[in-house]
Subunit: 211 residues, 2 copies
């Protein structure tokens, strides 16, 4: 079982028991999510921006448009925190205090690098596309030189990484189990509806979504 | 139509056309989500932590455990960015460049305040609980003094706020509409499974989840 090395920063938090550093579990969470939340600082103010991403081995590529203006001013990259969270359930306890959520999340810290090499941008675009629909890259028009110039991608190595998760029923105070209150978990899933074709789609092209 | 006043910070970003400042739309997004991502700075490093929240009028309450250690050291509160994002669809275009996501997100900037008044903590706990299951607060055991002491809540006023959203089909380059590629939107929904009762639940207590 390969793991990420915990650091002072990734050990932050009050529930160390929920911390997970196993690479396979981290990868699974990153591969299941669609959106990450990128945190960065501009003039002392933290910003948290949702954006698309995809994993490539021990690196993630991040749609960089929101952060790219700032990044371009920094040669050495910029400190970021990228967080991916999957909500798995609403945990309903017998007291308000013990209500909780079942979730899996990954936090990646590091210096994001602005991708400038056109070849690496193609790799990133392929990752983004195949992350959403496996195999789709081979079915669409390849990028033009102009598009690659306009594509803003950040790269972040998976080095300072931790995951956290909670699962299972509520943990109530012992004396509360006698209360006549329903308690348990409402499972939460991400569901995909039937694909809605573009009004300008050509007739006769079938598509079924699976991932 | 009441709106939040745009500021230099909330106007940040490359798609001003997607910016929304209408209060009703902002409230609707905040009321639909379960998790927010809280961004804050510790020693120059941005952190982005997922946590529960709930809206109360023009204020949000945030489960503060992750950020509270830092907050306790700061009398005047701390600059945070709280972001709530709802994913609505995967937007599949005819080129990688025009792939996108349909989403609604709210970004709240401001100084978070650590809630210390026990009465306000009760208000916050009630908000959290009823946000997850409407009306649940009146069915569960009220908080004890001990629990209120151990409850860590942040309050953040809805003052510097903006929303962003994308909806609808992909926008492709004109010449690409002739390509034999399926394009359109895969709708994404949050679905709730049948509630799973706690193994220690008393018999005969029914529960159906709706929100």
């Amino acid at each position: 079982m390969e793991s990420y090395a915990p650091t002072a920063k990734t050990k932050l938090g009050r529930y160390p028991v929920r911390g997970v550093f196993d690479k396979a579990q981290v990868h699974a969470i990153l591969d299941e999510g669609f959106l990450c939340h990128v945190g960065f600082i501009v003039g002392g103010q933290p910003f948290v921006i949702p954006t698309g991403y995809a994993r490539s081995g021990e690196r993630i590529y991040i749609h960089g448009s929101a952060a790219s203006r700032m990044l371009r001013t920094l040669d050495a990259g910029v400190d970021v925190c990228v967080t991916v969270t999957l909500l798995d359930g609403l945990v309903l306890a017998r007291s308000g205090f013990h209500h909780s959520m079942n979730y899996r999340s990954v936090v990646v810290l590091g210096k994001a690098r602005l991708v400038t090499d056109p070849q690496e941008k193609i790799v990133a675009l392929r990752c983004f596309t195949n992350h959403i629909v496996p195999g789709r890259w081979d079915t669409i028009r390849p990028p033009t030189e102009q598009e690659l110039k306009a594509t803003s991608v950040l790269a972040l190595e998976l080095s300072e990484v931790s995951a956290k998760m909670r699962s299972g029923p509520p943990i109530d105070d012992e004396e509360d189990y006698a209360l006549p209150v329903w308690a348990g978990v409402v499972p939460v899933h991400t569901e995909f509806g039937p694909p809605v074709a573009d009004p300008r789609a050509l007739p006769g092209i079938k598509f079924e979504y699976s991932r």
